[in-house]
């Protein structure tokens, strides 16, 4: 198991989307990764992780890191959302190499609306997702962006 850094220094006006689902980079060279749960008995992978396995009798789920890169399986441009979200934004479903049945819903950032396509290579990023206007905090979570070839 790789080390999982569960802490990130948040600003006063920020909060985390969820605890324990993102491995934040601890050095500039590292990339953020999503933390999934894997059943010790059958190996099934779930994101977000489950407490008990949904596929077998297993009750022990260990943390694993998902690849930082995946492929955009489906997308839409959301033009109307609940308050706190910037629109239009691209919302996608990403597949990662670890498990073809795993569908990860995420906003697609740093991508022009006209440049998005099915099958696009994407990578995990940390970003501000929305404003929780009950707590008046900016919510820090995961998203994906197109992989840029240099």
């Amino acid at each position: 198991m790789d080390k999982i850094t569960k802490n990130i220094q948040l600003e006063e006006d920020q909060m985390l989307l969820r605890e324990g689902i993102i491995n934040f980079p601890s050095s500039p060279g590292e990339k953020p990764q999503l933390i999934a749960g894997q059943c010790e008995a059958c190996g099934d992978i779930a994101f977000p992780k489950k407490i008990w396995c949904g596929k077998c009798d297993g009750k022990v789920m260990k943390d694993i890191l998902l690849s930082n890169r995946g492929k955009l399986y489906a997308y839409t441009v959301v033009r109307q959302a609940v308050p706190g979200y910037e629109v239009p934004n691209i919302l996608g479903v990403v597949k990662v190499p670890e498990d073809d049945e795993l569908l990860i819903m995420a906003q697609i950032r740093e991508c022009d609306l006209k440049d998005v396509f099915n099958g696009m290579e994407v990578e995990t990023i940390i970003t501000e997702l929305y404003t929780d206007f009950l707590r008046n905090k900016k919510v820090i979570g995961y998203a994906f962006k197109p992989v840029t070839v240099n």
Binding site: T76, M105, L134
Partner: protein, 391 residues
């Protein structure tokens, strides 16, 4: 198991009873209106009802009891069901089971909802109670329901070449049917251009491909065969109702089909000895055009991936292979969450009895209702029911 029949069916017109679009009415008034219509349609006294079952999503506790008390029905077992957009059909399934199993002989099934101004709780309070920290995908998306149905449309277009025009034609068809239904919220036809050019909500779904916010109620009287024969020469039999819930990874990595729809319909067909080719009409859960599209395929009304072609060829229109959403469906008739599953059976009961006037499906003998709702585990609906009805 005993056979179960619908002997009376009634509903309010669906719409916004906010005092602006339609006269102001509470959810209880709407519910009572539907119950009285169903009881009068059956010609049975309200004093004969032994138990009541109600699907609802917006009211404070004990919706059922508060609907029936003013019409003289109280002191009997009363049950309230919440199951997202499938609440009404889940109430029906519960009532159906109690009669099939011999617990009661006559029951009232109600679906009622009011979203323009739910009593006891302002809509804003309810909205604020939901968004943050409960469902990860909801928090990530900010518009989970609509966006998910848009993603399903995108996946289907990508995998099968379905076009945005084909999707839009589903709305044109259902609004054309709704224009013949005096109980529909929208009773006006729309053109393909109007659907495609309406405001984009979540690509490729435009406003006219999304169901409206609605208020309304529907009710059916269900009973045993012995009692049915005392009241009508046209009892509508409900041979089976199946319920299935979406499961994590139940989509097996594909957003273009709902395995829980496939499971629920397969179980229903097998239990009744009826196949999709026997169906004269189907009421599907068309809250968005893309859901009607995948329902064609998951209910096996057409082969996987061919929903678009069937729409182009008018095979789900009047005069086609099987009429889908003759009532106008959720897109035109409206979608008061908890009422929808019961209203689908009201339409099917009226159709099988030949009482639908301009939108009558000629010689209809077998109907199917498909009602799905909410979010369970993963991306599939939390609940989906398939109900078969025959005459």
């Amino acid at each position: 198991m005993r056979d179960v029949y619908i002997i009376g069916a009634g509903m309010t017109r669906f719409g916004l009873y906010d005092g602006r679009h339609l006269p102001y009415k509470t959810i209880y008034e709407l519910g009572a209106e539907a119950c009285m219509a169903a009881l009068d349609h059956a010609g049975i006294s309200h004093r004969k009802i032994e138990a009541a079952f109600c699907g609802n999503g917006s009211a404070p506790p004990n919706c059922c009891q508060n609907i029936t008390a003013p019409i003289g029905i109280s002191g009997i077992p009363a049950f309230n069901h919440e199951n997202g957009c499938a609440a009404g059909s889940c109430a029906l399934k519960h009532g159906w089971e109690t009669i099939a199993n011999g617990m009661y002989d006559v029951a009232l099934v109600i679906g009622a909802d009011k979203w323009s101004r739910p009593p006891g709780m302002s809509q804003m309070t309810k909205l604020l109670a939901v968004p943050y920290g409960m469902n990860l995908n909801q928090d990530v998306a900010g518009a989970f329901g609509t966006a998910l149905l848009a993603l399903i449309a995108n996946a289907h277009m990508n995998e099968y070449g379905t076009t945005k025009e084909q999707l839009a034609k589903i709305s044109v068809k259902n609004k054309r049917n709704g224009a013949m239904n005096p109980y529909a919220q929208f009773q006006k036809e729309v053109t393909l251009e109007e659907v495609l050019n309406s405001r984009m909500i979540s690509d490729p779904l435009t406003l006219l491909q999304c169901c409206p916010q609605s208020d309304g109620a529907a009710a059916v009287v269900i009973c045993t065969g012995d009692i049915a024969r005392q009241y009508t020469t046209k009892p509508v039999k409900i041979p089976f109702i199946t319920e299935s819930a979406g499961k994590y990874k139940g989509m097996e990595g594909s957003l273009s089909q709902f395995k829980c729809f496939q499971r629920a319909s397969k179980m229903a067909y097998e239990a009744c000895g009826i196949g999709p080719e026997d169906l004269d009409l189907v009421e599907v859960h068309d809250d968005f055009t893309s859901l009607e599209l995948v329902a064609y395929e998951d209910l096996n009304l057409c082969p996987q991936g061919e929903g678009g072609r069937f729409i182009d060829e008018g095979l789900f229109d009047f005069g086609g292979k099987c009429v889908v959403s003759p009532s106008g469906g959720l897109l035109a008739k409206g979608h008061p969450i908890g009422a929808t599953g019961v209203a689908q059976l009201v339409e099917i009961a009226w159709q099988l009895r030949g009482e639908c006037g301009k939108r009558q499906v000629e010689g209809a003998k077998v109907g199917l209702a498909h009602n799905g709702g909410g979010v369970g585990d993963g991306y599939e609906p939390g609940a989906v029911t398939v109900t078969i009805a025959t005459i």
